[in-house]
C-alpha cells in the first residue's frame, strides 16, 4: 500500500548538510498496522512527512495506493493540484493534534470536506457520523480547548478519516498522552484498522505502541532502517535489537552450574504450556528469571528467560525437547556462532 524506494532526504542549512533519510526502503502491506520506531533524530518524522510529501524527498520514490506521489509532485516547491488531491486521500494525525482553536469540534472535522468541496449538508452528516465513530458525538459543538488530550486526538482521528482515506499516517499520535489515554487511542486505531480496512503507518518512540497494535515494525537509526518485518519475524531473528527492545528479558544465572536459556514464543507453540511440560517430562526444576509476553493479534508472543539446573552439556536433551515444540532457544552466555548452532542442533536431535 505504501512503498518507498531509496528515499533520501538531505537538509541544507548554511552550507551544512544533514542527512535525515539515507536510502529508506519501506513496504507497508494493505490493511496492516506498521510501526516505525526509533529515537528522536533517527529520521522517523522526516520519513512520515515524505510519505505524503509534506517534505520533498531529495531522492527516491514514494508510492501510495499504486500512485507514484513523487512523480505528481513536479518541480516547483509548491504542491500542485494532483498532489493535493492525492494527499486528501491520505489521513494524518499529529502528536499535538493540530486542531483549529477557532472552530468547533464538528467544524474541525468538516475542514477536509470543505477542501474537497463537499456540500454543507453532506459535510455535516459525515462529520457527525465520524464523531460518532470515535465516540465524541456529544462534543460536536465544543471547542478544542474544552477537550482533554485524548478527546482532542479522537477529533484529530475523525478529521483524518473525513476524506475516506485508505491510508492513515500517525505522527507520534500518542506521545503527548498519558498511558491510559494512549491505550484507548491505540485501541481506537486498531478498531479502525479492522473495521475500515485502513492501512496505518505510525511512527513512535514508544515500544509499547508497537507491541500493542503493530503487525509489522521497523527500527530506524540515523536515517536508515536497521531492522524490519512482521512482529513475529523480528522476534524470531536471533540477536535482533528490536526484539530485545520489544521484549526485554533480564536475569543472571544463580550459579556456575546452571544453564540459562532465552525462549522465544511466536506462533502456535506459544499456546502450549511448554515450561510445565518440560518440567514434568524430564523431572527438572525450572526457575523463570524474566519474561516479557504479550498477546498480539490473539497469539501469545514474547520471550522468557529460564534457568535449568546443571551445565549446558547436561541439558542438551531438554533443549532439544523445547526446540521440537517449535520454540526458538538461545543459550545465554554461549555465543551462537554457526558452528555452535549446528552442534546444538545435532545434540538436540539425539
Amino acid at each position: 500500500m505504501i512503498t518507498t524506494t531509496g528515499l533520501t532526504k538531505v537538509y541544507r542549512t548554511r552550507g551544512r548538510e544533514v542527512t535525515a533519510l539515507d536510502g529508506v526502503d519501506l513496504h507497508v502491506r494493505e490493511g496492516e498496522v506498521y510501526g516505525v520506531i526509533g529515537q528522536s533524530g533517527a529520521g522517523k518524522s522526516s520519513l512520515i512527512r515524505c510519505v505524503n510529501l509534506l517534505e520533498r524527498p531529495t531522492a527516491g520514490t514514494v508510492t501510495v495506493a499504486g500512485q507514484d506521489l513523487t512523480a505528481l509532485a513536479g518541480r516547483g516547491p509548491r504542491a500542485g493540484k494532483e498532489l493535493r488531491r492525492a494527499r486528501s486521500r491520505i489521513g494524518m494525525v499529529f502528536q499535538h493534534f493540530n486542531l483549529l482553536s477557532s472552530r468547533t469540534v464538528k467544524d474541525n472535522v468538516e475542514l477536509p470536506l470543505e477542501i474537497l468541496g463537499t456540500s454543507g449538508k453532506e459535510r455535516s452528516r459525515k462529520a457527525l457520523e465520524l464523531l460518532d465513530l470515535v465516540g465524541l458525538a456529544e462534543k460536536a459543538g465544543a471547542y478544542p480547548a474544552q477537550l482533554s488530550g485524548g478527546q482532542k486526538q479522537r477529533v484529530g482521528i475523525a478529521r483524518a478519516l473525513a476524506g475516506d482515506p485508505k491510508v492513515l499516517l500517525s505522527d507520534e499520535a500518542t506521545s503527548a498522552l498519558d498511558p491510559e489515554t494512549t491505550r484507548s487511542i491505540l485501541h481506537l486505531l486498531r478498531d479502525l484498522n479492522r473495521q475500515l480496512g485502513l492501512t496505518v503507518l505510525l511512527i513512535t518512540h514508544e515500544m509499547d505502541v508497537v507491541k500493542s497494535i503493530c503487525d509489522s515494525a521497523a527500527l530506524m537509526d540515523r536515517g536508515r532502517i536497521v531492522e524490519s518485518g512482521t512482529v513475529s519475524e523480528i522476534l524470531a531473528t536471533p540477536g535482533s535489537e528490536l526484539a530485545a527492545a520489544l521484549f526485554p528479558v533480564g536475569g543472571e544465572a544463580s550459579g556456575s552450574d546452571r544453564t540459562v536459556l532465552d525462549v522465544t514464543f511466536h506462533g502456535e507453540a506459544a499456546t502450549q504450556p511448554v515450561v510445565s511440560q518440560l518440567s514434568r517430562t524430564y523431572n527438572i526444576d525450572i526457575s523463570i528469571l524474566g519474561a516479557a509476553i504479550d498477546t498480539v493479534g490473539g497469539l501469545q508472543i514474547g520471550r522468557m528467560r529460564i534457568e535449568l539446573p546443571g551445565r549446558y552439556e547436561d541439558n542438551v536433551v531438554p533443549i532439544g525437547f523445547l526446540r521440537e515444540q517449535g520454540l526458538q532457544i538461545d543459550v545465554v552466555g554461549r555465543p551462537a556462532g554457526p558452528a555452535e548452532e549446528s552442534a546444538l542442533v545435532k545434540d538436540g536431535a539425539k
Binding site: 516547491p77 493535493r84 483549529l100 482553536s101 477557532s102 474537497l116
Partner: protein, 244 residues
C-alpha cells in the same frame, strides 16, 4: 470671547468629535483592507514561508519600513499630489483620510505580520496534509486563528490613527486634536484644551475597551486567557498622549 459657556463649546466639540471619528473610521477601514493582505504576504514570502520569495519579501519589507519611518506630517505633505488625484482636493476631512490610511497601512501590516506568525506551523501542516492550497491555508487557518490578535491590532491602529488625526488639522480637516492645538495651545484656552483631551481620553478608552472585549471573547472561545487589558491600555494610549 470666553469659552466658559458650555453652549458655545458644545457644537464645536461635537463637530470635532464627529470629524475625528469620520477620518479615523474610513482610514482604519482602508488600513485593514490594505494592511491585512500585505501583512499576510510578509509572512508567506519570508524564508521558509509557503510562498517563499526572498526578493519580494525584502521589497515589501523595505517599503513598509520607509513608510513607517516617515513622520506623519511629512507624509501628509509628501502625498499631497496623490491626495489631490484621489479626492480632488488637499484640504478637509476627505483629504486627510488619504495620508492617514496610507500611513496606517504599513503600521497595521507589521502588526498583522506578528499576529500571523504566531499561528502554529502544525496547523498549516495539517491543512496541507488534507490537500489544502495556500489560499485555503490563509483563509481557513492563518486569518481565523490569529483573529483575536488581529482585533487587538486593529484597536491599536485606531488609537494610533486618532493620534495622527490631530495633525490632520493642519490641512483643515478639523477633529478633536485640532481643537486642542488651535484653541488650547495656540490661543491659551486652557479649559477647552483640557475638555478636548478629556473627550479624547474617553473616546480612546471606549475603543480600547470594546477591542479588548472582542479579542478576549474570541480568545475565551479558544480557551486561552486573554492578555491583561490594563497593561495594554497604558501601552497603546501613550502615542495619543503625545499627540493630543
Amino acid at each position: 470671547m470666553t469659552w466658559s459657556d458650555w453652549s458655545e463649546m458644545q457644537p464645536l466639540l461635537s463637530q470635532a468629535c464627529w470629524d475625528t471619528l469620520y477620518m479615523v473610521g474610513w482610514s482604519t477601514l482602508i488600513a485593514v483592507v490594505g494592511g491585512l493582505p500585505l501583512g499576510v504576504l510578509l509572512v508567506l514570502t519570508d524564508r521558509g514561508g509557503l510562498l517563499q520569495n526572498v526578493i519580494a519579501n525584502r521589497v515589501i519589507g523595505q517599503i513598509v519600513n520607509i513608510a513607517r519611518s516617515m513622520p506623519f506630517i511629512i507624509l501628509m505633505v509628501a502625498l499631497m499630489g496623490f491626495t489631490r488625484w484621489i479626492t480632488g482636493t488637499t484640504i478637509g476631512r476627505e483629504a486627510a483620510i488619504v495620508p492617514l490610511a496610507i500611513g496606517a497601512i504599513p503600521f497595521f501590516a507589521r502588526l498583522v505580520e506578528t499576529a500571523v506568525r504566531e499561528v502554529d506551523d502544525g496547523l498549516v501542516e495539517a491543512v496541507q496534509s488534507m490537500g489544502g492550497n495556500t489560499w485555503t491555508i490563509v483563509r481557513k487557518v492563518l486569518v481565523p486563528e490569529s483573529l483575536p490578535s488581529l482585533i487587538s491590532s486593529t484597536t491599536t491602529t485606531i488609537v494610533a490613527l486618532i493620534g495622527y488625526s490631530a495633525m490632520a488639522g493642519t490641512v483643515g480637516a478639523g477633529g478633536l486634536g485640532d481643537i486642542a492645538i488651535r484653541y488650547g495651545y495656540q490661543r491659551f484656552e486652557t479649559q477647552l484644551m483640557w475638555i478636548t483631551v478629556g473627550v479624547l481620553a474617553v473616546v480612546i478608552s471606549v475603543i480600547q475597551f470594546a477591542g479588548d472585549y472582542a479579542a478576549r471573547a474570541l480568545h475565551r472561545r479558544g480557551g486561552r486567557s486573554g492578555p491583561a487589558p490594563r497593561l495594554r491600555l497604558l501601552k497603546t494610549s501613550t502615542p495619543t498622549g503625545k499627540a493630543g
